[in-house]
Symmetry: C2
Subunit: 397 residues, 2 copies
């Protein structure tokens, strides 16, 4: 029987480490003698029969791919329905596929779950294993997810630099970070704080209802104290009714196949918030304020040259563990979860769980991470630092 | 006599290297026994008498500052008029300042020129030297300017990653890069191209009039060929009448003290261009296109952890050369210029020129760098690569 490996959803800086982990472990197993087929553009490649044959890929090439950001096989946002899954099985049958390894987030794990269930219902002998991946860090059960650490490192380094920039030319600066339902990545902006007056001074996450008045009050408080204010905002912040703040600006909101509103790839939310502060706080203080907004966009997940070593190693291992579980756990399907076994020194373990424990579910920031003057606690910073690893040293005059 | 050192205009990743170069060279000179005063927030700090005493700063601390992005002394966008300059002299007189070292771009060098001229007119014995700095790379005489190489490295690595992202989830992607009048930084997006089909596939710079129809035609051509298109656009692109394209969207355009329209700190241009492509090309092709835009914003100049080693070394040396020129050139004022003495192997030299040769003037991309299928030539890529240094290796499947 052959193995298919695929990469789904948004790319990350280390999803190719997971691919390499799957491929090299299959290559090493004496009880696997089939082909290793890389599905181009995920399930879309499966149904088209578009595979890259990775069976004999050499270690050097595999390591180069592993160190390259973004999904080397290509990705897809297709969400297979029953008819789509029929075509997946046709392809699996045609290509003698007995193993399916699928790296992705919660939407993608749900795809994996559907495929595994259909295989069970049809009596098709398939081992289907999900490899966790998401910069949003919002998979249940997992302490954190591969891809998050590197994106968090990017966000932390971006905020370190932007705080220095904002010190040099003071003003109010709003940076919009990816994160639809979970604020972990936005909160990672705090990991590079080096002094009491370092920004971000405020962190707005989707777990906390966004209130315009309170936001203006908070910015005012920091601005009056420091003469500047650096703000980290999740793209998914919403009002008390659950409406994304970005929809207040855009008339023609774009949605994907999963029904998600387009949040990334536009600077609209940042510009909306900057205008809000300019007008409301400017009026209140009776002055023309220097307010700027940046939206980090896709750079957060794919920037070349900003990878957390811990994240890279864990992503690789998660791929290896998926193969091990497929051959040794006795399960027909499962998902690999990273659990933290020790905080000091930092250590993790990998366990195999039911896909249903993560599929289509979203983990949010726990209460212990929320609150305090900046909106996110020191407990979160302690949590995130070992996942990011060492940040560059900076000095202040 | 004491020395004042200041940092003006937009911060860069290596402007503190220039500061360190000035300070350490003054410390080493036996013919300088005064204080080294760092002007906080540039000329604003001079007139306020707000100085950081750097006379005895130790080498370790200075190296830490040197390796830190953004202006450690703080910056300013004040453009001194005659009255302002009077106050600068009052401060210089009060603090026995005989040496003034000012790192900045073309606006800042003009400030330095005005101050130097007023000193001459008043018979005040002042050595005023400008240290080049700008990520825009638009200073005359210079082969390139300190700060550009690191920003170019950021842009190159961002595009490398975003091209990989765009391969994984194909669509039309527009990235807006800093650059008001000069397209060097936007063109640096080509430095990380690894394959014939790598993006950016189109590069739009301010040196070339932006024509909507031609732009849509170009995107269509690439999209039809590759099924995707990655575009690099300078924030300062303009129409045939010289109107910035961004002003077509914004009703209430913000201007700084120099009369410059606000281009950075907003995602407006990217969103405008994305909407244009969605509508015009979408209509033409009769399909709903996936079009996204990111605006790199301030990350380009201040991101921590993305510095060109060549750029850092040259910025340091430019600071050292300014001190050397102040004591040894016999000039009362001047600007340091970097000239390339050899392309292979890459080598540069530093010369002292009249400030008037760079002050308030803008260098544009020469004809040899413009044209070809992507809009920017291989000659530019050959020019920029040694300034950026080695980029991370990436692999494609």
């Amino acid at each position: 029987m052959n193995a298919v490996v695929g990469q789904s959803g948004g790319p990350t800086a280390v999803i190719n480490q997971s691919l390499a982990g799957v491929v090299e472990t299959l290559q090493q197993r004496s009880d696997f003698t089939g082909k290793i087929l890389g599905a181009r553009h995920a399930v879309a490649g499966v149904v088209r029969g578009d595979f890259a044959d990775l069976t004999g890929i050499d270690a050097e090439k595999l390591d180069l791919i592993a160190g390259t950001p973004s999904s080397a096989l290509g990705s897809s946002r297709d969400k297979p329905d029953a008819a789509y899954c029929e075509r997946i099985f046709e392809s699996f049958t045609k290509h003698d596929v007995g193993y399916f390894f699928y790296a992705g987030g919660n939407d993608s794990s749900d795809t994996c779950r559907i495929v595994a269930e259909m295989a069970g219902a049809k009596g098709y002998d398939l081992k289907a294993f999900h490899v966790p991946k998401t910069i949003d860090n919002d998979l249940k059960v997992n302490d954190h997810t591969p891809g998050f650490g590197s994106a968090a490192k990017f966000v932390a380094q971006a905020f370190m630099g932007d705080d220095l920039d904002n010190r040099a030319l003071p003003g109010i600066k709003i940076n919009v970070v990816m994160g639809r339902h979970a604020g972990f990545l936005t909160a990672a902006s705090l990991a590079g704080v080096v002094a009491e007056d370092s920004g971000p001074h405020l962190v707005c996450v989707p777990e906390v209802t966004f209130d315009e008045e309170k936001f203006i009050d908070d910015v005012e408080r920091v601005y009056k104290k420091l003469g500047r204010c650096l703000v980290a905002v999740s793209e998914g912040i919403h009002d008390a009714d659950g409406n994304a703040i970005i929809t207040k600006l855009q008339e023609d909101v774009e949605k994907d196949a999963h029904g998600n509103v387009q949040l990334s790839g536009t600077g609209a939310l940042g510009d909306l918030l900057a205008d809000l502060v300019k007008k409301k706080l400017g009026d209140r203080l009776g002055q023309k304020l220097r307010v700027r907004a940046d939206t980090f966009g896709y750079l957060q997940r794919s920037f070349v040259g900003c990878v957390s070593e811990v994240d890279a190693a864990e992503a690789r291992q998660a791929g290896r563990e998926a193969v091990k579980a497929a051959f040794e756990s006795g399960r027909g399907s499962g998902s690999i979860a990273i659990v933290r076994t020790s905080s000091s020194p930092y250590a993790v373990d990998y366990k195999t769980i039911d896909i249903a424990e993560v599929a289509a579910l979203t983990r949010h920031m726990p209460e212990a991470f929320l609150g305090g003057e900046r909106g996110v606690t020191e407990a979160f910073v302690d949590y995130v630092k070992p996942i990011i690893g060492e940040l560059p040293a900076v000095g202040l005059l």
